[in-house]
């Protein structure tokens, strides 16, 4: 009789573990973005505004940046 209870106990325990493993395991899977998801509005996206934004990009002269260092080196 005692053995029957032990067997039932083990079955219940394993079932609980199985359910927990399944539930928490699958919840770790990444979520899939849906094609219908919405996007934040961009800034003005007319070609004029885009060109203006590109014109505003300045890559400052690299050589000029070394001027102060060169002045110091020349004093050595």
């Amino acid at each position: 009789m005692n053995r029957t209870y032990i067997v039932i106990g083990i079955i219940v325990l394993l079932l609980v573990i199985g359910v927990l493993v399944w539930k928490f395991g699958t919840s770790e899977a990444p979520t899939v973005p849906t094609p219908g998801q919405t996007l934040a509005p961009p800034a003005d996206d007319t070609t004029g505004a885009i060109n203006q934004a590109l014109d505003g990009v300045t890559l400052t002269d690299l050589n000029q940046e070394f001027q102060a260092i060169d002045d110091e080196i020349n004093k050595l």
Partner: protein, 242 residues
């Protein structure tokens, strides 16, 4: 009865790994679905944003690693410089070399910040290009050339970011022989810094030109500015560059 218990253990021992395997299959199929989504997503802008988000995260990781590496290297570098400075008898020159070394480290940092800002700005511009391209596509315009140009710009931005991360971890050791060769010794380190920054500069310039090309390609679509949006709008905001 014991046989029954042992049998049950075997059954569950087999069932649990099978469940784990099923979970693994679910996770794999989810990843596949993400990949498929990326490939089939119809919005140029959504696709661009997904790719740029991945790129941004990767860049952030690289920069974190580079900054940690730089801290270690700077400690060693300062110690090595003190040893080198002992070869100079003139106190004024010693101070000068120390100043030059500081200025070189500052310049490297400042330039890389400048390049990072430029690339961030280019990302926002490309986002606008992708948005306008989507609007043109809803009118039936062929935007395949714009998509290709945006992809090329994205690749160029990634390459420039990788160069920035690599340059971030660099320090320039000054090896001094004696007072007489000091100018040349310091000059070597200065030239090395300039050569390395030039490489990064060229990559950022290439990214800019690729973005410009995407804008030009977009502008070639007839009546592109007339198209209006049919894309749903959310409440989150895009990043801006100072």
């Amino acid at each position: 009865m014991f046989k029954n218990i042992i049998s049950l253990f075997f059954v569950f021992a087999l069932a649990l790994p099978a469940g784990a395997q099923t979970r693994s299959v679910v996770a794999t199929s989810t990843r596949d679905a993400v990949q498929q989504f990326k490939q089939t997503v119809s919005s140029t802008r959504a696709n661009f944003q997904i790719m740029m988000e991945q790129s941004r995260l990767q860049f952030q990781e690289s920069m974190d690693a580079a900054r940690t590496q730089l801290q270690t290297r700077l400690g060693e570098h300062r110690q090595a410089l003190q040893t080198q400075l002992q070869k100079i008898r003139d106190e004024r020159k010693r101070t000068s070399v120390q100043n030059i070394d500081d200025q070189m480290n500052d310049l490297n940092k400042r330039r890389l910040e400048h390049y990072t800002n430029v690339l961030d700005h280019l990302v926002t511009v490309l986002d606008r290009i992708a948005s306008r391209a989507d609007k043109a596509a809803t009118r039936g315009a062929d935007i395949s050339a714009v998509r290709t140009a945006i992809d090329a710009a994205r690749v160029a931005i990634d390459a420039a970011r990788a160069a920035i991360a690599s340059q971030t971890a660099k320090v320039y050791n000054i090896t001094i022989s004696d007072d007489t060769t000091l100018k040349n010794d310091v000059g070597k380190a200065r030239r090395a810094l300039q050569a390395d920054l030039k490489i990064v500069h060229e990559k950022v310039k290439a990214a800019y030109e690729a973005a410009r090309n995407a804008a030009t390609t977009l502008a070639q679509i007839p009546r592109v500015d007339e198209a209006t949006s049919t894309i749903p709008i959310a409440t989150s905001s895009t990043s801006t560059v100072q």
